[in-house]
Assembly symmetry: C2
Homo-oligomer: 338 residues x 2
Amino acid sequence: MDMAFLSEFPSIEFSRPLFASVLGNTALSMVPGVSGAGPSPKKTVFTPILDAEMITTGAITSMPLKPNTPTGCPTPAVITRAMATLTGIEPVFVNAGLFNPPTVPCIDVYGAPGGDPREGDAVPAARDLLTAGERVGRILSRCADFLVLGECVPGGTTTALCVLRALGYEARVSSSFVENPVHLKEEICEYVLEKVEREGATDALDVVRIGGDPMMPVAAGIASTFEGTLVFAGGTQMLAVDAVLKGLGRSMVPLATTEYVRTDASANFEEAVAAVGAKAYYVDPDFGTIGDAGIGRYCEGEVKEGMGAGGAMFLARVMGYSAEEIRSAILSTVISFR
Amino acid sequence: MDMAFLSEFPSIEFSRPLFASVLGNTALSMVPGVSGAGPSPKKTVFTPILDAEMITTGAITSMPLKPNTPTGCPTPAVITRAMATLTGIEPVFVNAGLFNPPTVPCIDVYGAPGGDPREGDAVPAARDLLTAGERVGRILSRCADFLVLGECVPGGTTTALCVLRALGYEARVSSSFVENPVHLKEEICEYVLEKVEREGATDALDVVRIGGDPMMPVAAGIASTFEGTLVFAGGTQMLAVDAVLKGLGRSMVPLATTEYVRTDASANFEEAVAAVGAKAYYVDPDFGTIGDAGIGRYCEGEVKEGMGAGGAMFLARVMGYSAEEIRSAILSTVISFR
């Protein structure tokens, strides 16, 4: 079991590990069919806030909700919460741009949520957000020598698709839907690609401005200044940040994500990672045998990843917790939210 | 010189020092005559934002302003900036509740600015802000083992007066005006004391709710959970936080402030410190001989303290910088903003 839990066991020396996550919104998540991260399209924008609240306090009290998908599948934030409890690391949240104020403290860069790229620039302040992210990276450098940095941006696989394609990578993107709404995403992406071409935009930050989301420049900024060892927690969305970093001529960051992202048949994650020239670690928690039908559905392609859940498990394992300790912590957290 | 720079040299062991400051607004600063911290009463609310911007970036670019008072005296934030440059410590800002969004990243607790206590509860969410502050204290515990925590709340000496009096201390309060507007402050304070009595409020958080400002519960929360050595940077306002901590049955925190606060004839700072049972370090930078007429006016009672300037100098000295290095860093920063 332990051999297969991580695709590769990294050699990282550290004394002060930390998990952080960049929260953001894009208006795209409210377009019906784009995001499954919420009980309804309109409510997807609250998911980063509710996830951060649940991970920080252990419960969602600001709305009458349980941290489960509409189909009864535990959200990835439940996994992240379980890892926070197991490792004793209280995650730090970075607010890159949300429609509503969070209910727990965040490092805030005072960014705006991303717009629908079909209606205008998605992230007009991309350049300022990169600078702000660089400031946050310097703050986080004081707090940790090993940082696992995730994201929570409902609709973010679509902005990731737009940015990866516009930067020249043949990506198909994963989704939290079992039925990946490929056509709608492709349509939005077509629009962004045409605008990028029309403007002759080649700078990675211009691509983010046209079709990205606010998480991307903030995460890229953090990666640019963080002084310790950094690992991105996430799949396609963090890969898009790596593509932005590469476009800016800056160092890319290794990814840690779940096996369910790698095996998503509607996407081509490993190929995209190779195309970008990034490196990925895969975590296989074998949820099919964990003893909960809801989380078992991750194996069938439901949810797969989010709120840095893969990276949170990766961090726990690298800190020395065994696969069984990790699985057992997840199961008891899942049960507590049933 | 060095002997007199600090009233007492503390024995503190640390390896990761940090300076942080809690920003907040109270509607009282917009009442003409309450606060001198800004070019006009209405504009006082921007001072925390502009100070944080200047300290972080080295310049104020979001408004056409120099970091000098209307009378041409360098603001205390210039001193804090000079100490950040000298020590290489980039300050961390905590947004406790402001009318406008900051222009640099802050740890945000998503609080509201304080209201005018004559129009209703000043800080209705005092209890939630204490909890949020406790979360921030846990985050900062990861970043530092020695934290100097200041504040920037225009109008905050008036809320400090209200809270200290309501908690039973015979405080008179310092002010950034040469002519301390004692009567107006006393009038507001009378109102708060009457309301506290009418409600029979004895709990320190109820007193903050009725007549305090959002900085107070956030700073008290940070003090409650910070695991390393903590020193409050400031005069009367941080003393009010100590009084709140004492009222809550929690440990008080030593203060570091300027000699100009101690010798303010319109206040009685040392007596108030003794009454609360707190401890204070005084920093005497001897600005009269530093070589700048504007900052020399601190000796004549103008400005005196703010944005944790006293504590920032205290931190630099405790880190091993000499009094002359500190004075010289301040002078060159002051000159750069002339």
